[in-house]
Symmetry: C3
Subunit: 443 residues, 3 copies
């Protein structure tokens, strides 16, 4: 028994040692564990310092880190449209209504039709947003200007106030961005009748049932970059709205996604823009852009009557638009009505008002979904003094299967153009064949 | 006993097993602990790669990560001033000193008075800084230009050298940023007498006892955007300094913070700007801006004598300014003296020098601290040829209780304005009531 | 024995307790360990969200985080050249070939000669790149324009297609960036003969054996910022190539690094640029820049024959260039040949073609490596109508021992300048001493 006990005592002592060793080990591990815990806490608090982020999501998006307690965001975009155009004139000249003959020349040139930088975001409050678009195209001698610059306060989805410079709220085709147009360039009729940008105040928002509206009061119908001394003391009012009865139409005309359900958009727009003469009876640059349907500038001496210069005119514009898309096919059209009222000149005029009108229809189909589409267009400008027409067909190729890089080619038969528009390279008096080959890219 | 021992042996064997199990467990935990430790070390080293940061602190601040061994910082700011102005003229025309009558018209228009983008920071060395301000307002047809563009080397707080384009160092009110002015627009007297921006070299810095100085040599008094071929070979010198005897006045005129202690700033400025005629005796565009106190442009033929055109003039400018703020009240004033010396023309002039002078006084009070203030102003321009005056009152409302978003309204009685200044919408010959409603926002 | 057993039972019970305690402890630690593990996993996944990065590496580089699945990069650069120039004329006037006398005046002025912002990077695909350079210097009244704006698709190192606006591919000295030129300003002969920027299409790439080529078709020889209506329907073709037979020459002319091995670059360039008259026979602005070697503008009435105005000219340009650098020394030269062919006017001209030529040679040495260099230059413009010359010497000081901040001074003896170039401040008719002191800085 003594031996057994001896032996047990030995065993117990060995067990004791092992337990003591275990206890020491456990103690050690425990302290290591505590240390690790602390390190992890420290690490976590370091990692939690948010240094802001840079993302690319259809634009470079800069978001400040948590440390900034002022709401802020900035998105940077840029886009680019490069064109070669070749115009083969069928005529040598055109004669305006005042009897002056102007040459019509062949053209063959490259140009950067659109070169844009866009900065947008919000600041101070999620509801306070800014939008700046800088342009510097070849038509403007590559000089940079603020194409758009407005700030807005968003009360809710149905009501935002915008102040600054942007597009006058009229004509669906005009309000569509130039990266979303069907043949890159807008129809001749649209460019003839549409307003331009102006400085003013806008109310915009959604209406119940996939509808949208814009209302505006601003300086003028086409006072985009005119300094204020070239405008008068009468303001311009405009409004537009559309409805998508079968669901949201989206922001593209075409049906790149080959959808199975029919989508429809219908809308209309109006503008009222009175202008008055400068002191002394000479017309203001604000009305310089208006042309008769034969291309004569309204304010040129002799435009309406020999030796008489128009000085005063009130513009009324109304348009109706419609569009649908279905299974790769798409179609859109707009009808334009323009009344020139209260015409006054420095002598008697043969009329006190004049109505001019026009329309375009265009449609297309994706031949290879998201990759290649074919399109056609007809547009017409009509009135007492003449008629201009345009028949066009073209292809768009999207090499990366997305809308952000596009090669485009179109051939357009222009007949008696009353439009002077360097941005589509259709000039007044043009009668001939126009070939345009273009690249659009954006970031 | 045998049983007892047996029983003990069983117990000991069970204990043994438990200890062995513990040892294995401990071993396992230890290895897990080691692995965790390593992972944490790895994690830490990854987290320590500094990828730079984006913060918003009164501007978007981009800081490169540690990997960049070149000192660099970039701050992006933008600001915006939108205005509606309505001018009701009490007169139909004004007649200048050469006998020519000019119409004065009512005006009613929106404009973007200031549309700015600012990039600033340092590069290569903490002491090498850059500052670029781009503007594209309605007055300039929304064309973008570099309003300011200078680089600087800072030796210490008391001495920096700046080279490039910025404001000529004279007139406290003119040197104050347009986001910090009392009624948004500067007094009529300031805009009449003040210099403009120029290209040149500046020395700026602090002086002992809350004081500050600027010294400058540059191209001219008002040669902001004139290309060099429109300037002469004589340089312009200017300087300004101020003292805050009761402590730092800060960069705002008003007392938004309703402070208990009186703050005072006093200062003065001078400019010497000689100009010489272009070959052939015709005046250079550099002197085009100078007007007599009845509004006649100095370089117009007949301004000083029938049929005579002024071609040469040396400008001396001196101003004294003072301001205080206390318990929500604030007040500031500046006196202007302008000597036109060494007058020469293409025939005999009735005088060889002419002194014109003016001043403004303005004050205001916060009605609701940081939210709403009311202000009033009187300014006067006086000289041999006439006197122009301005009496104004207005309100500023800060909806977010900070100075970065401001709505402002003022009504100004303008009497015989000799000033032509589209940026405050006070034009030469104006005599009537001017209403300005404005929004200022910045990021 | 009973006691012993009792005692043992006690011991065993104590051991039991210790083991139980150990087991509890181990259990606790194990669960802590598991928790820690989970926290670390969580932490790791958080840390692995890549928020993008900001680096400075000769420009501010913004890289979006992993979350962006669109390839994108943006690099922001800015640079600045500030100059004081003082021209002391030795003559009072110069007379052109049409017999008209023009004054030559002393000049003393500051200007911002170059004020640039550059945005570049790729988007959508690594091969799709963009490059935008904005300028707003004093010569252009600080107005901003797109100096360069092109997009490119890189097939491989040997072939990229660029579309947009950039330099016409001719003259080594002209294609060299203005931050890499020897005396900051280019030689008088280069500025007289070189083309400008244009809008068009380029093919560029490497050739085997340290060689490089560019080929171009574009609107014109000097149509940089001319709107399209000022250009004709005939395109311009250009090409250039160089070879570095002893290894890559790098992008600097000088040998700041004091290298032991000789480096050599040889190359040549050509341009063919036909122009045709506008309807009615008047010359187009596109040819306005061409001058005879006595400074007469080719399209001025009377330039070639009394009363006759040149309307049509085809330009052929050819140049050969060479350069070497070795042990701190460097040298470069270019020879220019310009043929004006198919000259037509509104009446008979005494010639149908005219050849004008010129060259420059320049060299320099680093006196203190990477810190201070000294340079000298001679250039000459020669032809039937006259000869202009330039002899220059100057110093560059690099205070931070890198090329990104440079102070430069040169003195130039100009003799009978036929060049009108505000960007080097050498104007037509200049005969005298020109001192230029400049600062260049970049980020």
């Amino acid at each position: 028994v003594g031996l057994a006990i001896e032996c047990h005592a030995d065993e117990i002592s060995a067990t004791e040692n092992r337990i003591e060793h275990l206890e020491r080990e456990l103690q050690l591990q425990s302290s290591e564990l505590q240390q690790l815990k602390q390190e992890l806490r420290l690490e976590t608090s370091i990692a939690k310092i948010d240094d802001g982020s840079i993302r690319y999501d259809r634009g470079l998006i800069l978001t400040p880190g948590d440390g900034s307690n002022t709401p802020f965001s900035l998105k940077v975009n840029g886009w680019f449209q490069f064109r070669h155009h070749d115009f083969n004139s069928h005529v040598e000249s055109w004669t305006d209504n005042a009897g002056i003959t102007h040459p019509v020349e062949n053209r063959n040139a490259f140009d950067i039709e659109r070169a844009r930088l866009v900065l947008s975001g919000h600041v101070l409050d999620e509801r306070l947003t800014y939008f700046t678009q800088i342009d510097g195209d070849t038509d403007g001698g590559h000089q940079l200007d603020f194409f758009d610059y407005y700030w807005a306060w968003k009360f809710d989805d149905s009501f935002s106030i915008q102040v600054g410079k942007r597009k006058v709220s009229a004509s669906r085709q005009w309000l569509l961005g130039a990266r979303r147009t069907r043949l890159i360039d807008r129809p001749m009729a649209t460019d003839f009748f549409r307003p331009d940008r102006t400085v003013g105040i806008w109310a915009v928002g959604d209406l119940p049932g996939n509808a949208y509206y814009e209302l505006m009061v601003g300086n003028g119908y086409r006072t985009a970059n005119l300094p204020e001394t070239s405008t008068d003391d009468r303001l311009t009012f405009a409004g537009t709205s559309y409805l998508d009865p079968l669901g949201d139409y989206g922001n593209t005309l075409d049906d790149a996604k080959d959808r199975d359900s029919l989508l429809v958009r219908v809308g209309h727009s109006f503008v009222y823009s009175p202008t008055s003469e400068a002191t002394g009876g000479s017309p203001l640059p604000e009305t310089n852009f208006i042309r008769l349907t034969d291309g004569t500038r309204l304010t040129d001496t002799g435009a309406l009557a020999p030796g008489v210069t128009v000085s005063d005119v009130d513009i009324y514009f109304y348009s109706i638009d419609g569009a649908f898309k279905y299974k790769g096919w798409s179609f859109d059209a707009e009808l334009y009505l323009l009344w020139l009222e209260q015409l006054k000149g420095d002598a008697a005029l043969p009329m006190t008002d004049l109505m001019q009108h026009g329309f375009y229809v265009e449609g297309g189909r994706f031949l290879i979904p998201q990759k290649l589409d074919a399109n056609a267009r007809y547009s017409e400008i009509d009135g007492f003094y003449g008629r201009g027409r345009e028949i066009a067909a073209g292809l768009n190729y999207y090499p990366l299967s997305n809308p952000y890089l596009r090669l485009s080619f179109d051939v357009t038969r222009v007949i008696d153009s009353p439009l002077q528009n360097t941005s589509s390279d259709i000039l007044v008096g043009d009668d001939g064949l126009l070939f345009r080959t273009q690249v659009q890219a954006e970031f």
